[in-house]
């Protein structure tokens, strides 16, 4: 199976985005070919490319990379189900920047026990806390804290670990404003949606290639209409999800309606991301239910991604609440 297979899309990258995507894809390809269970090399490569600091502040306080560029990197690495804690690090970078602070060492973020959002009382669970991360940013009342983390433990998502605070805590800065926290939530939903797009889209692309090569009844299984329709439907979902991710990223970059667009993206990603992986598993058939084959890693990642920063129903409900509010308040 080639790591270079992609589903066709009409969505264009700018030249800068295409360069970034190529670099990220190269790191993802090496991860897929060689990493196994140890992703420290992936982290070094990501760090070396500056990808772990994309959302930290430049001299005037704006992020080093746009949300669009950041989502591209996340999508590509998720395609390899890379175990380096990139998303955790990007979220911590964003949270620190929004609080006007900077990080001494890379960190992840501390979430509530149900993973639905940032903790507000300094307790909870650090998600995407694999090595080399030893700290998490945590909101506690009006403060933003750096908490030390205990040893990471595995989850059903084989690519990502969680960790609990181990006791050591220091105040980093005052917590971000309510408005900034709103932006953080949108950014977090965007990254999770991009992670689902990458995880699901790449496995699906591989499934399509497999359907062209796997012979049964003397012909490629991809020539059967039942298989074609499975693939056609999954493709429509991949492209719709891509539209949602592109739009949510743009809304953050352009200071447009980022809450709505990110809720749409996360809700749709949580539902269809998992479905697309399930479709791909069906196309691969028996091979996809073996431990050795990576399909279950994609499925596990998608299922946990779906919960982080709000599941499909919770985010849809939050969207409806926004619509209600607009209907009550009238258009802006």
């Amino acid at each position: 199976m080639s790591a270079a297979t992609l589903v066709p899309t009409t969505a264009p990258d700018t030249e800068e985005e295409a360069d970034l995507r190529a670099t990220a894809r190269d790191i993802a390809r090496r991860c897929r070919d060689t990493a196994g269970e140890d992703h420290s090399g992936c982290w070094s490569a990501l760090d070396g490319a500056g990808f772990t600091q994309l959302r930290e502040a430049d001299e005037d306080g704006s992020p080093l990379a746009t949300a669009t560029m950041t989502a591209i990197v996340v999508e590509e690495l998720a395609g390899a189900v890379c175990g380096a804690p990139l998303v955790g690090a990007l979220l911590a970078g964003e949270l620190a920047r929004l609080a006007g602070a900077s990080l001494d060492a890379p960190a992840t973020v501390l979430l509530t026990e149900d993973l639905a959002g940032l903790t507000v009382d300094g307790t909870g669970l650090a998600w995407d806390a694999g090595p080399p991360l030893r700290h998490a940013l945590a909101l506690s009342g009006h403060d933003l804290l750096v908490v030390d983390l205990g040893d990471p433990t595995g989850t059903q998502d084989l690519s990502r670990s969680v960790a609990r605070p181990s006791g050591g805590t220091r105040r980093l800065a005052a917590g971000p404003s309510a408005d900034a926290l709103g932006r953080f939530g949108s950014f977090a939903r965007l990254l999770l949606a991009a992670d689902l797009l990458g995880t699901a889209g790449r496995l699906f692309a591989d499934a399509v290639e497999y359907a062209k090569q796997r012979i049964q009844f003397g012909v490629p299984i991809g020539s059967f209409q039942a298989v074609q329709h499975l693939c056609g439907r999954a493709y429509a979902e991949v492209e719709a999800l891509r539209s949602a991710v592109i739009t949510a990223a743009w809304a953050l970059d352009a200071h447009a309606e980022h809450r709505e667009t990110s809720l749409v993206a996360k809700s749709y990603a949580a539902r269809t991301g998992v479905e697309i992986v399930e479709h791909a598993v069906q196309v691969f058939g028996g091979v996809a239910i073996t431990w050795e084959f990576p399909a279950h890693r994609h499925l596990r990642r998608a299922l946990l991604d779906a919960e982080v920063f709000g599941g499909a129903e919770a985010t849809a409900d939050a969207l409806l609440a926004l619509v209600d509010q607009e209907a009550t308040d009238g258009p802006e």
């Binding site: 693939c231 493709y235 719709a240 539209s243 739009t247 809700s267």
Partner: protein
């Protein structure tokens, strides 16, 4: 991708909103829907809101494609009648038409003075369109057309038809198909409206018995009919190209209003509507991306538009099914002819969404074979 709205587009929306508040018309009690939509098209055109992305030389506004999304959204937000959905039929003239044909037909198509229909499907050429058997035989000065078409929207009110007919050998599949402009008042045409499950008759049968058309009415060269048809249906699959975004937006708003407090007090109702909201936003988001791409790359729509048709159908059917489920007895008890049966009519119409314009299964075939490259 830059999805920002320019100050000009924002001003356009403001102007459109104000204009719509003063100019929306209502369907007359005895006015057939087809004639009402034609009248609305003409009112919209007079206001300057039709043909936004069309060249100015044909009466369009020469604006970018995203203006069509804005038009759809504003009409939908206000619950105004659907945006005109026939503009897509003229697109083929821009690529295949002669200058004379464009000058003659396009301005009146955009203004709504002429109403157009699409003569593609036949009794034995539905999903298998390439099996069409309507013939156009050469005469000294043009062609003589004989055959039968079906599922033609509003044919009884139309002035012109874009008709596919076989000029090559019978059984030639995609080869030997040509496209013609047929004036609907030509001798030898009989139109029979079909009463649909909604009780209304949008779709018609058309019979052509030796209908004479001059050679200048052929669109493109002989044998260009298939690519012309494929390009036309690609546009037909875009929710903004056919005005459906406006329809769904208006219906969803209306449903929310009808549900009122149940939306806040009944968790099951709320969950269902929240799901619809996400699906509708996904369609809007996707359509906007498509049109932004079309503006950016200056490309014509292709087989990827089947994604759009699938998303459009999903919203259409999920929305109207949910409406019937949630409105319950109030939707299904009124007499068939009662105005209160409107949601039931809309629901029944939505069941056609996965059949017309290329069935759901044909869209999936196209994505699998033409986009993903799976073997035929």
């Amino acid at each position: 991708m830059d999805l920002s709205e320019s100050p000009e587009l924002v001003a356009f929306r403001d102007g459109l909103r104000k204009w719509l508040r003063d100019n929306v018309i209502e369907q007359g009690a005895d006015e057939p829907r087809g004639l009402f939509l034609k009248r609305w098209h003409q009112v919209l055109f007079a206001g300057g809101w039709v043909g936004l992305s069309w060249p100015t030389e044909y009466g369009g506004r020469g604006l970018s494609n995203v203006y069509d999304v804005a038009l759809n959204e504003e009409i939908g937000a206000l619950g105004a009648p659907d945006a005109p959905r026939i503009g897509y039929m003229g697109r083929a003239f821009l690529q295949w038409g002669t200058q004379e044909q464009r000058d003659r037909y396009l301005p009146r198509l955009l203004s709504g003075e002429d109403y157009w229909c699409q003569g593609f499907s036949e009794p034995n050429a539905g999903s298998d369109l390439a099996n069409l058997s309507t013939r156009a035989e050469r005469t000294g000065t043009g062609y003589r057309i004989t055959g039968q078409k079906v599922w033609t929207s509003y044919a009884e009110y139309c002035d012109f038809c874009i008709l596919l007919a076989r000029t090559g050998e019978s059984g030639g599949r995609h080869k030997g198909v040509s496209a013609f402009v047929v004036p609907m008042r030509s001798p030898g045409i009989e139109v029979r409206p079909i009463v649909a499950t909604t009780g209304e008759s949008e779709f018609c049968e058309m019979f052509f018995d030796g209908v004479e058309v001059p050679e200048e009415n052929r669109l493109g060269a002989e044998g260009d009919g298939w690519p012309i048809a494929m390009m036309t249906v690609a546009y037909e699959r875009g929710a903004a190209d056919v005005g459906y975004l406006s329809k769904f937006g208006a219906a969803l708003g209306e449903l929310r209003t009808l549900l009122g407090d149940r939306l806040r007090t009944d968790a099951a109702v709320r969950r269902r509507v929240a799901d619809l909201e996400v699906r509708f936003r996904i369609l809007t988001t996707h359509v906007r991306r498509r049109l932004a791409e079309r503006d950016l790359a200056d490309t014509l729509p292709g087989p990827e538009m089947s994604v759009d048709k699938i998303l459009m159908t999903e919203v259409d059917q999920a929305l109207h099914r949910a409406a019937i489920d949630l409105l319950g007895a109030s939707a299904v008890l009124p007499a068939e002819s009662d105005a209160a049966g409107e949601w039931m009519r809309r629901y029944l119409y939505s069941r056609a969404a996965s059949i017309y314009g290329g069935s759901e299964q044909i869209q999936l075939n196209l994505l699998a074979q033409r986009v993903l490259g799976l073997p035929r």
